[in-house]
């Protein structure tokens, strides 16, 4: 692994666990065994490092999703939603630090004033919500989900539920794995009920 990748990984872990403000470049330097200057050499500022990390999160998620869609075959849309939920929970475990970082407030604050940061975050969330939206749309086409549901808004609601359960786990609010079965049932109910 190159020094730069090392710094990116250490930065991800520290920003995720300690927060952006509480992490100094020296902390990252210590963890990666490089001089502070090396960090400045690769990433001009701590903010630039965060941006590079978000960019990498985006690429990693897109790659994971490509692999997932390549391997999965679903009979109908509602099953596809179920798979999407499972995939999302799997991904949140595999990319734990990245998800922890996404659950922190700082990236969103930065996004309010920094176009680049906003674009990375938008791309990340577009990809994540698309997973659900595509599945719901398929369901509406094959009849497993009623057509009158507003696809986009429903996808966002399902996404916020699933992401909320990930937050439960991240912050140890409850034994989140115990919620899995009911999460799937609830989503099925939401998607199949007629209004």
């Amino acid at each position: 692994m190159s020094k730069k990748e090392n710094i990116l990984n250490a930065g991800t872990a520290l920003f995720a666990q300690k927060g952006f403000r509480d992490t100094s470049t020296s902390d990252i330097a210590n963890l990666t065994n490089v001089a502070d200057g090396t960090i400045f050499y690769h990433f001009k500022t701590k903010e630039a490092l965060l941006l590079a990390i978000l960019e990498k999160v985006k690429i990693d998620i897109l790659n994971e999703f490509k692999q997932y869609t390549g391997n999965k075959q679903c009979d109908n849309g509602i099953d596809m939603v179920e798979n999407a939920i499972a995939f999302y929970l799997y991904l949140s475990g595999k990319m734990e630090n990245q998800f922890l970082l996404l659950h922190r407030h700082f990236p969103y604050e930065l996004a309010e004033k920094n176009e680049e940061c906003r674009e990375y975050l938008e791309a990340i969330y577009n990809c994540l919500v698309d997973i659900f939206e595509t599945a719901i749309l398929k369901g509406q086409k094959d009849g497993s989900i009623p057509a009158e549901k507003i696809t986009r808004k429903t996808a966002l609601i399902i996404f916020s539920m699933v992401d909320g359960v990930v937050r439960f786990k991240t912050y140890n609010m409850y034994d989140a794995s115990a919620l899995y079965g009911e999460l799937i049932n609830s989503c099925r109910c939401i998607l199949t009920c007629k209004i």
Partner: protein, 408 residues
């Protein structure tokens, strides 16, 4: 074919005057009550809820329910429809909802001195003057909230909001009526092709706004010849998704020729997006044994896109030079071990390219003279204004870059 709008402060003799204007011009009056009822019918909200939206009495749940925005959208639609009738006078708050582009509207404001209004109110309501003042104050503050909601202006009597501002305590009724009818016969107020088009666009924009508010969206809507421009005035991360959703709602509205979305001023917190500034100092080394101070300083500089490394004593600072040379060093004088003066001497002897800014709490004039003689770039006292420090840093870095350029 023209339209009059009349807005007034309470207890300005407004009822008499409005009646006389209506008699003289033959215009039919449409009051807030009528508009509110109409908005109530289209929105399904109670009249009192809509009145609350006008008076700025917003539910704490408004963030989710957007009842105020929805109410105003329906009020706008009701006003736009009222303009379809010939020779109407829109009386009250709702006249403010008519856009300036509709030029065949004569905008009138009736107002009087507060003392006059208080005496009128006291006489009419048979109450004491201080109570009357309270009544007027309450009504005026509602008016201020309204004009702030609609125009961002807390002065409901601001001349810029009207064509004529009439001091009703200083002019008699006949004068006022003559003034209004003279203005009304002015060429400028004759409907033109453009102003009629603007009135049509007003209705279309209002219908679009109602459709959007019904779906919980609050964006500003502009219509021009059927072309709709939506301005998103809040920060939204999933912008593309939102734009797509807005478009899918608006395209279903009859009469919409095209839709464009854009991002408004409120989208980014700061007006000017801070791009990563490549002119900013890249490598700043802070040397100070007061750990908390220096960490805070480092973070504050970070917020200004100035990256910095930190060491807590002279020896590590000098080690750092071998490891990775900074461009600018901010140096405290009093430190255990090798003190600041020593560090400064060594830096300037071995690496004259580094600019050193002294930042100290206890330094004397003698120290200052010595440091400057030894080649310090600047000598600053704690506590230091962050603006001054970042400005000094930028100047020091400019010098560093200039020197590097010159030696190339």
């Amino acid at each position: 074919m023209s339209v009059i709008t009349i807005f007034n402060g309470i207890y300005c003799r407004e009822n008499d005057i409005i009646q006389k204007i209506a008699d003289k011009t033959g215009f039919s009056t449409v009051t807030d009550d009528v508009i509110i009822q109409q908005a109530g019918r289209t929105s399904g909200f109670s009249d009192s809820k809509i009145l609350g939206a006008i008076n700025g009495k917003v539910s704490i749940f408004n963030k989710f329910t957007h009842e105020q925005e929805r109410s105003i959208a329906h009020l706008r639609l009701a006003v736009a429809n009222a303009l379809l009738d010939d020779n109407v006078a829109i009386i009250g708050y709702c006249g403010h909802l008519i856009p300036k582009e509709i030029s065949h509207v004569l905008r009138i404001c009736l107002i009087a001195d507060t003392a006059f209004r208080i005496s009128q109110a006291a006489k009419t309501l048979k109450i004491k003057e201080n109570e009357a003042a309270g009544v007027i104050h309450k009504s005026d503050s509602n008016a201020a909230t309204w004009t702030h909601t609609i125009f961002g202006n807390r002065d409901p009597w601001a001349a810029s909001l009207y064509d004529i501002l009439i001091p009703t305590d200083k002019r008699n009724d006949d004068d006022i009526v003559t003034l209004v009818s003279e203005n009304l016969s002015n060429e400028v107020l004759k409907p033109t092709e453009a102003s009629l088009k603007a009135a049509k666009d007003f209705i279309l924009a209002a219908r679009v706004e109602v459709a959007l508010s019904q779906e919980g969206h609050n964006v500003s809507v502009n219509a021009r010849d059927g072309a709709i421009t939506l301005t998103i005035n809040r920060n939204v991360l999933m912008l593309r998704r939102l734009e797509e959703e807005l478009k899918s709602i608006v395209e279903k509205v009859d009469g919409v020729a095209s839709i464009e979305t854009r991002v408004g001023k409120g989208f980014y917190q700061t007006d000017i997006y801070r791009k990563v500034d490549f002119e900013a100092p890249a490598k700043i080394l802070l040397v100070d044994d007061e750990r908390e101070f220096v960490q805070t300083l480092s973070e504050r500089l970070q917020m200004r896109d100035i990256g910095s490394a930190v060491t807590y004593d002279g020896a590590s600072a000098l080690e750092m030079l071998d490891d990775d040379e900074p461009d600018v060093m901010i140096l405290d004088l009093k430190m255990p071990g090798i003190d600041g003066i020593e560090v400064l001497k060594k830096v300037k002897a071995t690496r004259p390219g580094i600019e050193v800014i002294i930042l100290t709490g206890q330094g004397s004039e003698k120290d200052e003279a010595l440091c400057m003689k030894l080649g310090a770039f600047a000598y600053l006292q704690k506590p230091v204004e962050i603006d001054l420090l970042s400005d000094t840093l930028n100047r020091a870095y400019k010098k560093v870059r200039q020197n590097k350029k010159d030696t190339k």
